[in-house]
Symmetry: C2
Subunit: 339 residues, 2 copies
């Protein structure tokens, strides 16, 4: 029997369908494999083919825009938003608009074209997280920005246009609606219960265990109760924390470990799937609060562009998260060893 489940934060209902494809092998898809053929602007010696770097980790002290880096952040060559200018808010009859001011940056996670985020060493993944943080801290100084969206498109089916492993960051002069929905839902729960809804979810998931994927002393990974997508994975800090960029150093280490573990499990169970991840965190400038809890949402791209879901934000998920959790838990992965 299919089930309708409500996301406790946003209030969105999702159909958890049980009569359709559900097991990992039921999803027809292309493996994300690194072909490595052709010119790549993210490889060593092609530094001049990207816009000049914003920052880079260069343990050898090499010069800007030259090889030697271990991680490099550059502006997106085809940015969705422009950094220069004023917002210039204005009306047009009953419509509202403003200039497309913002930042759109690319985090090149490694010079090694053959790697994926899952196959990087744990300390390299930690560096990617540090780069996210460093960029957020820097962009926070620009008071035009209200939200920083950190995300990754991995594989063609997830919208990646270059295969060399990279993440992206968009600094926005507005808070996206979906973030507002989460904030509002979390705030309403807090008003009612005086507790963070995500903290309560973590508590319940640890108690029941059916949707629990992994836990360390600092993080928890779960298959969310009202998953919109098959094999969706959330990673949350166990202690209340509203903003990603305020994480402490040991937390980045722990986050890198559980993220690697989850990506390796997804790669094993779903055979190198395309995926997106998005870091959900509090808006700027005052990102410390009692009601919101930052987390990462990982969405494997297993189903075709899901038709009407786009226009309706109404999702049908063919894999109950409890089943997804069972497959992901049973995967034989040793992230510790690989680090």
């Amino acid at each position: 029997m299919p089930e309708l489940r409500k996301d406790p934060v946003t209030g969105r209902w999702v159909i958890i369908s049980t009569d359709r494809a559900r097991r990992p092998s039921d999803f027809v898809r292309e493996k994300v494999q690194i072909r490595g053929s052709g010119f790549c602007p993210f490889c060593y010696n092609n530094e001049s083919k990207t816009p000049p770097e914003i920052m880079a980790y260069r343990p050898d002290g090499s010069a800007r825009n030259t090889p030697g880096w271990t991680l490099r952040v550059v502006p997106n060559k085809f940015p969705a938003l422009r950094i220069e200018g004023q917002l210039n808010r204005q009306g047009e009859g009953l419509y509202d608009k403003m200039e497309g001011i913002g930042a759109h940056e690319v985090i090149i996670e490694t010079p090694d074209h053959s790697k994926t985020l899952a196959t990087l060493l744990r300390p390299q993944i930690e560096d990617v997280l540090w780069a996210f943080r460093d960029r957020v801290v820097d962009l926070k100084k620009d008071r035009r920005f209200k939200y920083i969206l950190i995300f990754k498109n991995h594989g063609d089916a997830a919208g990646a246009s270059l295969e060399h492993t990279h993440s992206q960051l968009i600094a926005l002069p507005i808070v996206p609606k979906r973030v507002h929905e989460e904030l509002d839902g979390a705030m309403e729960y807090f008003r009612y219960k005086d507790r963070c809804i995500f903290c309560d979810m973590i508590q319940q998931e640890l108690e029941t265990g059916v949707r629990l994927l992994a836990q360390s002393e600092t993080f928890i990974a779960i298959a969310p109760f009202a998953s919109c997508f098959p094999f969706e994975v959330w990673i949350l800090p166990r202690a209340h924390q509203s903003a990603f960029e305020e994480s402490m150093k040991p937390e980045f280490e722990r986050f890198a470990l559980i993220l690697k573990d989850m990506l390796m499990r997804l790669d094993q169970v779903l055979e190198l799937p395309a995926y997106n991840f998005v870091i959900h965190t509090s808006p700027l400038p005052n990102s410390s609060n009692d009601y919101y809890h930052w987390h990462m949402e990982i969405m494997p791209r297993l189903t075709k562009v899901a038709g009407f879901e786009w226009g309706t934000s109404f999702y049908i998920n063919p894999t109950p998260p409890e089943e997804a959790a069972r497959f992901l838990r049973e995967a034989a992965v040793q992230a510790n060893v690989a680090s």
Copy 2:
């Protein structure tokens, strides 16, 4: 310069990007062409291969589940929801769920496998609209249902699993969040202005003309100001009307005409694109009101599964709707002749 535009109803901001692909020829995609090879459960003589029909238009008075029909409605063979049972609402700790009760039906628009909705004759398209209405009127009697979603997936990239032209209907025991957002936005505007926001939009679009695609005495087609997708098209009744199923007979005729016109224009300008459409209408059971205005949203599938848009509901649209409107207006299409 990119622009941020706010959807006046939902409050969602969209980036109208101007430095990326924008012209029809900039989008790489597969044409939706009817191959016609292999077995098709929607063709004549295969009536037993679908679940028994719910209704059919049979001008020749032929028997149920036999050939002779011009349009046929059957339950989806792999339904997302089940018609039998009770909702059985319950909690699970802090989570809420209910049984997946609902209807999931398929409207087979013609027995002719070689046709698409765009190439059907105008009276045939009118019959499709009548079938939508007839099913809504029937399902409305079931008080478990709160919303009826009518949509179409055309082409592989839009999520169609069978190429024989068909639409779908899902009757839901809840109102989808996106519909709630629209209703709330429209209601807020009505409280403030004592006018329907869609009526005001229609007025403004007729006055400025820059996003106007077509108008008849009863309908208007526009490229919406804050289009989420390139070449998005909305069709709205010009006079205020909150519920699709309450349309009068001459309106169905007029709607069929403008719908055919728009689909033919999209086919010409974008070279047979995959697309989805969704009818946005008021929830059941009391679908008459002053603040909401039913309409159809047509979304061509030109861009790849747009990565982070899924998780954030934050959209980047590379084609300003004013440019899309220019291309669609200039298309040489004569829907009248084809009828």
